[in-house]
Symmetry: C2
Subunit: 243 residues, 2 copies
DNA sequence: CAGTGGTCTAGACCACCTA
DNA sequence: AGGTGGTCTAGACCACTGC
């Protein structure tokens, strides 16, 4: 478990600034106080303020202009995700303005296909645990997710697993593994029979497919996920900023 | 123009470390010297070393473990792009192991469609300059890109424009505008007639479409691009790391 | 010219991991 | 216990912008 995450000072500064942007104290497009002013007002060093501002800038919330000031990005609401939290599907759905929910379809033990074995560095036939889930936006099914994890990694009884959690928390809680990084392929495909069954809509249409391989701290693959993403309902939009 | 970019100390540290990773001084999966050691060896403060390491970690090149050390990511070659440079199509092609080239198809003045006018905050019919280009991977056409920029922003004669540049440099050089940020929609669509003509392959297939809106420092849209991306040839794969 | 953000330093303390 | 990365401070200088 151990997700205590002591709130750092810069994280608190971050939250204060975000709150002020949200409640309109700092209105869209306006200039916010300078680093020195914030540093003095909040009683922290300028370096700490900069750490917080850097995070907001990386997420596109603010725009910084050397010699001029720091400004609230007035367009941020048009994006549904920032770089860095792209695979938080719940946040993605809510970023589109919907209420999200997760429906567990099935948890199954299945032998690995050739492709899965290749990706996960296993032998074909080794047992995998598949979590098949549907993500809903205001009740409407928009994402069909299938995550496969080698059985040998399981550390808790399978029937105790809460299938409604973020994949990262499923790992933390039941597999006692930390995800260090992930590599994701973004593909375009014609909708398959299984996805059509769960997502509905008209056949022969194109959908997004996000193939995610999760790696542990030791550089070894620990999970493989296939997410069928109905982009006719849900926008996958990203903000990118430059330094 | 003005792209002088004085190389900062931390950028130089960054390059030194990248070079050592590339030439095998720091081999894949191995631990690199600690922050203090690097700080002492290179004669810079630990904070500067940390700035450089943070950048490498954000790109997934290294993995950091508190209380243990910093390690070279052994899997980084499996990704074709990092978060933050996703829209550098040339780098994307080369990340897939191909030689890239850009072919200018046409530069045309055209009235804005309703959709373009909406996105760019113009009136329908206002004149746009369209740059239609094909990106090739080892001679094979893989991306059809169409970027539209309002004529009123042009600051140089149109016939002087080098259509082979990155869109960011086209902006810098001929429009004297800096791009502050971009919002991109990733969609999946059936290939259209125009894209099929330039990219070839079989009809009725699904391709990726990246719709990019570029914004200037003043939060106003300055360009709109549609990139048809043949993901049957080119993989769009990203590394994501967690802090 | 004054003020802003961008970079850098030297030193301190803490949380965490391995042994 | 010792070393690692994570956080924070106080102060300095620089590059850039706008007036």
């Amino acid at each position: 478990m151990n997700l205590i995450q002591t709130r750092t000072v810069s994280n608190q500064v971050d939250e204060i600034l975000l709150e002020r942007i949200r409640d309109g104290t700092y209105s869209p497009g306006s200039r916010i106080p300078s680093e020195s002013e914030l540093s003095e007002e909040l009683g922290v060093s300028r370096a700490t303020v900069r750490t917080a501002l850097a995070k907001l800038a990386a997420n596109g919330m603010i725009l910084r202009k050397q010699g001029n000031g720091t400004f609230v990005n007035a367009r941020i609401k048009e994006a549904s995700a920032q770089f860095g939290n792209l695979w938080d599907l719940v946040q993605l759905i809510e970023g589109n303005g919907y209420k999200s929910s997760i429906q567990l379809i099935s948890i199954e033990r299945k032998p690995a296909t050739e492709k899965e074995a290749l990706v996960l560095a296993l032998e074909p036939g080794d047992e995998l645990i598949h979590f098949q889930r549907v993500f809903r936006a205001d009740q409407r099914a928009v994402i069909l997710a299938d995550n496969a994890i080698p059985s040998t990694l399981l550390r808790e009884p399978l029937d105790k697993v809460d299938g409604g959690l973020h994949i990262r928390d499923i790992f933390n809680n039941y597999f006692h593994q930390k995800i260090a990084f992930a590599i994701t392929d973004i593909r375009s495909t014609l909708i398959g029979a299984d996805a059509l069954k769960h997502l509905g809509g008209k056949a022969e249409r194109a959908i997004l497919q996000l193939d995610v391989t999760f790696y542990g701290m030791n550089n070894l693959p620990i999970a493989y996920g296939v997410n069928n993403f109905d982009d006719s309902v849900l926008r996958l939009s990203l903000v990118q900023t430059w330094s």
